[in-house]
């Protein structure tokens, strides 16, 4: 094992390693803990929790696509109270670092969720999933509306106080991602999670109808990696001091490295865990070896390294 310092930070939260689960792709953590030790990775990003329990969408909820998949789960979950009661204690027992992902249908719901989390100990950060339809504005997804995005983050920031880092998770389905990113950072986000899934559709040619019960779904997996890398690179160029949790199609240490040199401080792995339950520890080990092979003694030196041309352009 090569001796590279893999530790990283997102806002004031410190993590011994840079690879995380992706929200909604690790359930409560129990399921993956059969395959590897949850404390051996950066941390567990929990599935987005809402204030009430939800059944989510009808099936079919998935379709495989070339080098990717569509999903439309509809945020099935137990609600924040049951989540705090059952899932958090399990993760703490496993000594996992925890990033809690929250989702809401109104600005108020996000604040309510933040209030419930304020007193909970053992949480490293909050990821705010704003890729949810805003019921107060014709179902327009918060993350697609700069003003609504800001208001959500602002509400969470005010409620939670100054301690816990807020990671705003953005959607790539926008004309101007940097504009949205700047808005949420101004509103109080300490870090950004890039990217959520890309809106897509598959039509079943047997039934000649959309394959998913919900018609559209979120595209994830290696197919979207070039979109994610572009998003991370663009946002890091515009906001070099804001840490980024990168994700979207990472399936190997090479892919994680690509995101890190594009500007990510940490990397979440989602779809790859469906294809390989051991993907996360494998990726983390491959990344360590790759960093060593490239001559980096720490992960931090590598963050944003692909931008170095711009830096020397000024010389």
């Amino acid at each position: 094992m090569s001796s590279v310092d893999l530790s990283t930070t997102l806002g004031n939260a410190w993590f011994p390693a840079p690879i995380f689960t992706a929200s909604g792709c690790a359930s409560s953590g129990r399921e993956l803990s059969q395959f590897f030790e949850l404390h051996s990775i950066g941390g567990v990003v929990t599935k987005s929790v809402m204030s009430k329990a939800r059944h989510g969408r009808p099936t079919p909820r998935m379709a495989e696509t070339p080098s990717g998949m569509l999903n439309s789960i509809g945020l099935q979950g137990p609600g924040i109270d049951a989540f705090l009661e059952k899932d958090i204690p399990f993760l703490l027992e496993k000594k996992a670092r925890i990033i809690v992902s929250i989702a809401g249908e109104t600005v108020e719901e996000y604040s309510t969720l933040a209030r419930k989390l304020r007193g909970v100990s053992g949480i490293s950060a909050i990821e705010v999933n704003i890729s949810c339809p805003n019921v107060e504005n014709r179902g327009l997804v918060f993350a697609c509306d700069p003003e609504a995005s800001r208001r959500v983050i602002d509400g969470v920031r005010r409620t939670i106080g100054g301690e816990l880092p807020i990671i705003a998770k953005l959607s790539p389905d926008v004309t101007d991602l940097v504009h949205i990113a700047k808005g949420v950072v101004e509103a109080g986000a300490d870090a950004l999670a890039l990217i959520n899934t890309v809106l897509g559709m598959v039509i079943n040619v047997e039934t000649m109808r959309p394959q998913l019960a919900n018609k559209t779904g979120g595209l994830s997996g290696p197919a979207i990696r070039p979109i994610a890398v572009r998003a991370i690179y663009q946002v890091h160029a515009a906001l070099p001091k804001v840490p980024i949790l990168g994700m979207g199609g990472v399936a190997s240490g090479r892919d994680a490295f690509e995101m890190i040199i594009a500007g990510a401080s940490g990397v979440s792995v989602g779809t790859a865990s469906f294809g390989n339950p051991n993907a996360i520890p494998v990726i983390q080990n491959e990344l360590r070896d790759l960093l060593a092979a490239k001559g980096f003694s720490s992960l931090r030196e590598a963050i944003g390294y692909a931008h170095r041309i711009e830096v020397s352009d000024g010389e």
């Binding site: 359930s27 059969q34 395959f35 099936t59």
Partner: protein, 278 residues
Amino acid sequence: MSAINRNAQQIAAAVVSNKRVGQYHQLIVNIGDAANHCKPGNFVAINVGGDTSRMVLRRAFAISRVSANSISGGTMELIVAPYGQGSSWLCSQNEGAMLDVVVPLGTAFGIPTEPVQVLLVGGGYGSAPLFGLAEVLNARGCRVDMLLGASTASKIYAPMEGKRSVNSLRIYTEDGSMGQAGRVTDPIKALIDDMNIAVIYSCGPMAMLSAIDSLTRGTDVIHQCAVEESMACGIGICMTCVLPTMGSDGVISMLRSCIDGPVMDGETVLWDKVGKAL
């Protein structure tokens, strides 16, 4: 200690043999010691397409039988229908090919503690896990009757050696090309009425399972069915494979068919809500 998929392992497993049987392929795969942990009803999840595949998700297959005492280590048998790109790839893998397998996964058929009378109902490749199950039930002293159905003869999977563990076997094909013409569910009502059946074990298309449920619901007959929903992960982390269920407490929930199934108590499934908003 986590109870979910307690014995599941990811292993590199060699194909021992691949034989065509009607429209299916019978694959024998060496899974070593993992074979000792496989119970009838469990399934495996297999990577498809090799290193440069555009298919990012595993495919699930019921374990038809395991044999722990083979020379090369424990083996499992799969019955695979070459349907789409993933299963076709699997059916093209020859002796010696290495597969990336996660095994065993999911729930198993509940085995009665008493030697009761049971009925096994299989549709298409759904018969695969029933022969391994029949052996276990037979060893428990149960009377095991089996009904197999499919659209046509070549889709009936009923191996010679499998028949040893069953007391009777009746075959139904929709086109009448083998056994009786008709559906495998046709005789069930009469069998329930005439015989003292304690448990029906079923595996096959969702429509078949649902039809059996409508016959057993409200009766004393227990219906243990192995469901088949689209699965992205097979290990409980993606929430794509859910089925609407109602527990004995009346609570409705969307349960994952990969870890709370594939074997479920038919009575708990809300069959008419499958694919509908709750």
